[in-house]
Amino acid sequence: DAGVTQSPTHLIKTRGQHVTLRCSPISGHKSVSWYQQVLGQGPQFIFQYYEKEERGRGNFPDRFSARQFPNYSSELNVNALLLGDSALYLCASSLAPPDRGPFIPGNTIYFGEGSWLTVV
């Protein structure tokens, strides 16, 4: 079975531009999360979506937005790019939403290979 797929894998943007990153979750997974990983740090939570609804938002500015489509794929949009937005953007999928509790194995999340964004 295919894992989490993300596109594009690498991209370079100029400050002030807009970027859209795409993610397809594992088949059957309805929950998608986005993480930003700056070099040398752990992934930082940006958004979580389940059944097209936003279920969680991290401490990121309004320039960051996301949505989930009926087929459970997702897009992350970042406007007015800054140099500090340069990072690896990870999409993760899981079977169950977070608020179903800790005892359901589906809460395991699986990461895609990520999209490397460089802002110059």
Binding site: S33, Y35, Q41, G42, P43, Q44, F45, Q48, G56, G58, L88, L90, P98, D99, G101, P102, F103, P105, N107, T108, I109, Y110, F111, G112, E113, G114
Partner: protein, 107 residues
């Protein structure tokens, strides 16, 4: 709030053991462990749930002390393939990751 991992880095020879610790200031539902190799995405290793359930991977095991809000990852008889950065993720509605522990295993 992010969990705190220690040590920041460890260097091992093949066959040696190591322990990576993860602690949180908040009560946790579960702890997740991931390994990330340079230039790659994090790969799921295991999840530890409240109640003491522990699920291991290869020769890597972990424990979860709910009262202390701590988890430890045990690398036993390390192999070259164990090299990478290990992240713990603590779950309370979302996963919050620590800064990572870089493990280098040398022949």
């Amino acid at each position: 709030q992010q969990p705190v991992q220690s040590p920041q880095a460890v260097i091992l020879r093949e066959g040696e053991d190591a322990v990576i610790n993860c602690s949180s200031s908040k009560a946790l539902y579960s702890v997740h462990w991931y390994r990330q190799k340079h230039g790659e995405a994090p790969v799921f290793l295991m999840i530890l749930l409240k109640g003491g359930e522990q699920k291991g991977h290869e020769k890597i095991s972990a424990s979860f002390n709910e009262k202390k809000q701590q988890s430890s990852l045990y690398l036993t008889a390390s192999q070259l393939s164990y090299s990478g950065t290990y992240f713990c993720g603590t779950e309370l509605y979302k996963l919050s990751f620590g800064a990572g522990t870089t493990v280098t295993v040398r022949a």
